[in-house]
């Protein structure tokens, strides 16, 4: 037992945990971060892949990193740099008529006009309206404020609409709608569900490298972000301990101590947990101090579908036929908007969809350190996939890789010949490795996205705060929840 209690113990040294620790430490608090794995970073990991390759294991592009975290924690000074600041979105299609949507509206419009003239005309207005609403919504999503009344009303109204209905009201071509709808499937939602339209607004509200709604790739992959945060947290005075999984939070109405798996107990005044709300309240805190009805609701709120990763090593650049596409972009493979609903229903029933929807990134095109010259690494996020498939993941894992490769073959004929190595990370692998279960404790409902920060960050137990994906409006690598949780903690401890 340590002598004096820590002011805060952070559970999990992912982006959120490190950000929270850095903020708390900068405010003068005595902070200890305990991480179950042997390395920090959580889902932001760049690891060796095959013989000569490196690959982003879980997260493969950043689109929601909090600019205030980057600035306040001086991450650029601690080594964070971006290889690509603004990855264009590319909707790959099997007929070669890919839709390339860079920040330059004119270029995007050109590529949409191949599919529909009307949509090309509407796209500019859609983009402007979406980005304006997103900017107005930042008051709600970036700070702990309630946001303007008009904005709240518009967001509430939009909260009732599904992404597919909303996109249907703007566009007519399936190609564009399917590509845009893919972004509304985070957190296990289908684009048909009310509340999914808000996901599009949330993504548009983010800012990377000063550019609204951009996706960026750090030099060295997402792992570099983790390193920079680690350096910043340590510079501020936080202690980091790896290989120390937390087993229990001892609390009796208020937090008292954290017990590690080794048996060591660390006394503390507050705990910032980057695990999900369910894991924190039911598993770590043992269900004590959580009301029966809330515990029942948490236990019941099981997510329905998840996401998987497939990593492919390629001996040459993917031979995308048709319209030329920038390799350093973010590719979305999703041909039919109706297909997403069918895939979701399939995944909910425990089967792997025949035609999986995917988001892909070529880190090697952005950062040469990922593959030998001329060769490439392809990182594929497959969503939705069943969380607990009927056949079980061990049997389904090779099928997952197979279906991904088949789908890619349709869009880049001849790709299979270039594959030299393949690896897959199923949802159960992700949970086992990172402890990241249902990031969101359920689907991303409008109520959750529009609720004030305090309701997501605080718990019924005094001194316990959630700073991970569960506390974000939408689970993503952001660090914002870490910042806000730490700021809340500091404010409450000063009182």
């Amino acid at each position: 037992m340590s002598s004096a209690p820590y002011d805060a113990i952070v559970i999990g040294a992912g982006v959120s945990g490190l950000a929270a620790a850095a903020y708390a430490a900068r405010a003068g608090k005595r902070v200890m971060v305990v991480e179950a794995r042997n390395k920090v970073g959580g889902l932001c990991e760049t690891a060796r892949f095959g013989e000569h390759f490196r690959a982003p294991v879980a997260a493969h592009a950043l689109y929601a990193l909090d600019p205030r975290v980057v600035k306040d924690l001086a991450l650029t000074r601690h080594g964070l740099a971006f290889a690509v600041r603004d990855m264009p979105s590319v909707g790959l299609r099997s007929d070669g008529k890919h839709i390339v949507l860079p920040r330059n509206l004119a270029a995007g419009t050109r590529s949409i006009s191949i599919h529909s003239r009307a949509d090309a005309d509407a796209y500019g207005a859609f983009w402007r309206d979406l980005f304006a609403l997103a900017r107005a919504a930042r008051t709600l999503w970036w700070e702990q404020s309630a946001g303007g009344e008009r904005t709240r009303e518009m967001l509430a109204r939009l909260g009732y609409r599904s992404a597919s209905a909303w996109l249907d009201s703007w566009f007519e071509s399936d190609a564009l709608k399917a590509m845009l709808a893919f972004d509304a499937t985070a957190g296990g939602a289908t684009p048909q569900e009310p509340g999914s339209a808000l996901q599009l607004v949330w993504r548009a509200a983010q800012e990377m490298c000063g550019l609204q709604g951009a996706a960026a790739f750090p030099k060295g992959g997402p792992g570099a972000l983790a390193e920079a945060l680690l350096a910043s947290a340590q510079a501020a005075g936080a202690e980091i301990r790896t290989g120390a999984p937390a087993k229990r939070i001892h609390a009796n109405g208020a937090v008292a101590a954290v017990e590690l798996a080794s048996g060591e107990t660390l006394a503390c005044r507050a705990v910032l947990s980057s695990l999900s709300r369910r894991k924190t309240l039911l598993d770590l805190a043992g269900g004590v101090s959580t009301g029966f009805a809330e515990a029942a609701a948490l236990a019941r709120a099981r997510p329905r579908v998840g996401a998987a990763k497939v990593l492919l090593a390629l001996s040459a650049a993917p031979p995308f036929a048709g319209v030329s596409v920038p390799l350093a972009g973010r590719f979305v493979v999703c041909d039919q908007p109706g297909g997403l609903a069918a895939a979701h229903a399939c995944a909910r029933a425990g089967e792997l969809p025949e035609d999986p929807a995917m988001e892909m990134v070529l880190p090697s095109a952005a950062d040469p350190g990922f593959a030998p010259p001329g060769q490439h690494v392809l990182s594929v996020l497959v969503r939705p996939v069943p969380l607990v498939p009927v056949q079980g993941w061990p049997a389904l894992k090779p099928k997952l890789v197979e279906r991904v490769i088949l789908a890619l073959e349709r869009h880049a004929a001849g790709l299979a010949r270039h594959i030299t190595a393949a690896e897959a990370l199923t949802p159960s692998d992700i949970e086992y490795a990172y402890g990241a279960d249902d990031e969101l404790g359920g689907a991303a409902t409008a109520a959750r996205m529009l609720a004030p920060w305090a309701s997501r960050v605080k718990c019924a137990i005094a001194g316990l705060y959630l700073c991970g994906a569960s506390a974000e409006p939408l689970g993503a690598i952001s660090g914002r929840a870490g910042r806000i949780a730490a700021v809340t903690l500091v404010a409450e401890q000063e009182r």
Binding site: E149, R150, E153, M154, R157, G159, Y160, R161, S162, A165, D168, S169, T190, Q192, E193, P194, G195, A296, A297, R300, A301, R304, G338, A341, A342, A345, R348, A349, A443, T445, A446, A447
Partner: protein, 491 residues
């Protein structure tokens, strides 16, 4: 001819609107396309001696105050509740549990409160909007909290027994094609297909007759066999309607009980509506998924799992429901669609000859458009077969006693009733199409039943009050007309 109000459609809603309008002293005319009034509320002889209501056996309940003010009890319309029972594939029968009943009672209370809100909003003439006025922030409607919940989640939380929960879900989604695991599907509990109100003695046709009597008694004119084809406008305002045979009827206000799409897209020219209104009308999503099979039996079937006047829901569990829904979305007829079986002649002996019986089966998750073409005879036979399988699951031996059957497929609902895409509910029950947003989403726009077109009022299923009860949307629209005429807003 110059009237104060013209009501399009002489169904339950239209006749109720006519009663209210006529009682307020307005010169009212009701125009009905079919040769008989009633719309959904009809009882037809589908085989010599055998009668049944083709479109639905039971309506959502008429709110008690409206029931009394229409004088329906005095006209002999007495509702006999028909309790519901779920029969699963093993033949085990499940009834509603205490907590299921409590949940349904709560839903009924929310429904009444929402109807009260709809009536209150209708009675307020809309304030003149000046350029500088900001729309007042909307108070949430009763029941709006359920817009975020999935029906299966809500049931899992409130009803302990999963089979009782399945029964509640089957009752609320009877004949619909809705996914109970999507957020917002809990609204189906608020606006259910059936809420146990019961069947009037004498069948639904008796209700139609009583409403017609009340309307004529109040002084309204009812014209059958005439079809409204377009709206007459004077400036930006409605001035009347035009009929198929060329006659013009002048009216200060028009109440349409057609659904939203049919009202705006078939009664107006493409250039007569503001582009935003036309776009919204086109974007309004219809639900649908109902098909009915009426079966004449030569003798009553063997023992049913409960009293014979019950409604039996056949369910095969979650997997079967998901499969049915996927099949419907793909445009095929499901292998095992959700079904509701009712032995109508047991409750009302006039519906079948002595010694025989009439059975109705309501199927859900039946697509309006089949992926491979039209509703041919083969497809209707498939529906009939599915219905017989379901009936057999409840009352074994039905298949051997069938004398005749009539299939009413989704397009028949559209042809006979004018319901777009065969949707009796008048629009998908989803959060962006309910309450203040049914049917218009524009913020600060006129609250329902008023529409962006001055002088046109929307009653019927697509209005806010429509899915919440029978007849009441007509009363709400009439309230709005009377309030607006009183405020001098209609010339």
């Amino acid at each position: 001819m110059r009237y104060d109000a013209c009501v399009i459609g002489a169904g339950a809603d239209g006749l109720t609107a006519a009663v209210a309008l006529a009682r307020a002293g307005l010169k009212t005319i009701v125009i009905e396309r079919n040769s008989q009034v009633g719309g959904r509320c009809s009882t037809r002889e589908f085989h010599p001696g055998f009668r049944a209501s083709p479109f639905c056996d039971e309506l959502p309940s008429i709110p008690p105050p409206l029931y009394w003010s229409l004088g329906l009890a005095q006209r002999g319309v007495l509702f006999v509740p028909a309790p519901a029972m779920l029969v699963d594939r093993d033949g085990i029968a499940i009834r509603l549990s205490g907590d299921a009943r409590r949940l349904l009672a709560e839903a009924a209370q929310l429904r009444q409160a929402a109807l009260a809100r709809a009536a209150a909003e209708a009675a307020k003439p809309p304030a003149r909007r000046s350029f500088f006025s900001r729309p007042a922030p909307a108070r949430p409607w009763p029941g709006e909290a359920w817009s975020e919940r999935a029906l299966s989640d809500l049931l899992g939380e409130r009803v302990a027994d999963s089979r009782a929960a399945a029964l509640v879900s089957a009752v609320a989604l009877c004949g619909r094609a809705a996914d109970s695991s999507l957020a917002g599907s809990a609204l189906n509990l608020l606006a259910p297909a059936m809420d146990g109100s019961g069947v009037p003695m004498g069948g639904l046709a008796a209700l139609a007759a009583a409403l017609e009597g009340a309307a004529r008694g109040a002084g309204a004119e009812i014209s059958c066999g005439l079809e409204v084809t377009d709206m007459r406008r004077n400036g930006g305002r409605i001035a009347g309607v035009g009929l198929a045979d060329g006659t013009q009827i002048e009216a200060r206000a028009v109440v349409s009980t057609l659904d939203m799409k049919r009202t705006f897209l078939s009664l107006f020219q493409w250039n007569e509506l503001a582009p935003a209104v036309a776009k919204q009308a086109a974007g309004f999503r219809m639900g649908g998924g109902t098909a009915r099979v009426l079966i004449a039996l030569q003798s009553p079937p063997a023992q049913a799992p409960g009293p014979e006047r019950f409604v039996y829901f056949v369910s095969g569990g979650q997997a079967e429901s998901s499969a049915a829904l996927s099949a419907c979305q793909a445009g095929t007829i499901p292998e095992a669609p959700p079904a509701a079986v009712r032995l109508v002649s047991a409750g009302d002996p006039r519906l079948a000859p002595i010694g025989a019986a009439t059975l109705t089966v309501t199927l859900g998750c039946i697509p309006f458009r089949l992926f491979d073409g039209a509703w041919t005879k083969e497809k209707r036979d498939v529906l009939q077969a599915r219905a017989l399988v379901a009936a057999d699951a409840v009352m074994p031996g039905v298949g051997t006693r069938v004398l005749a059957a009539q299939v009413i497929a989704p397009p028949d609902f559209e042809d006979a009733l004018g319901r777009s895409e065969g949707d009796l509910a008048g629009g998908d029950i989803t959060p962006d199409q309910m309450f203040a947003m049914r049917p218009f989403v524009e913020p600060g726009g006129p609250p329902p039943p008023r529409t962006p077109v001055d002088g046109l009022y929307l009653a019927g299923p697509s209005s806010a009050a429509g899915p919440l009860g029978a007849c009441v949307s007509g009363a709400v629209a009439a309230t709005a007309v009377i309030a607006d005429i009183g405020a001098g807003r209609l010339k």
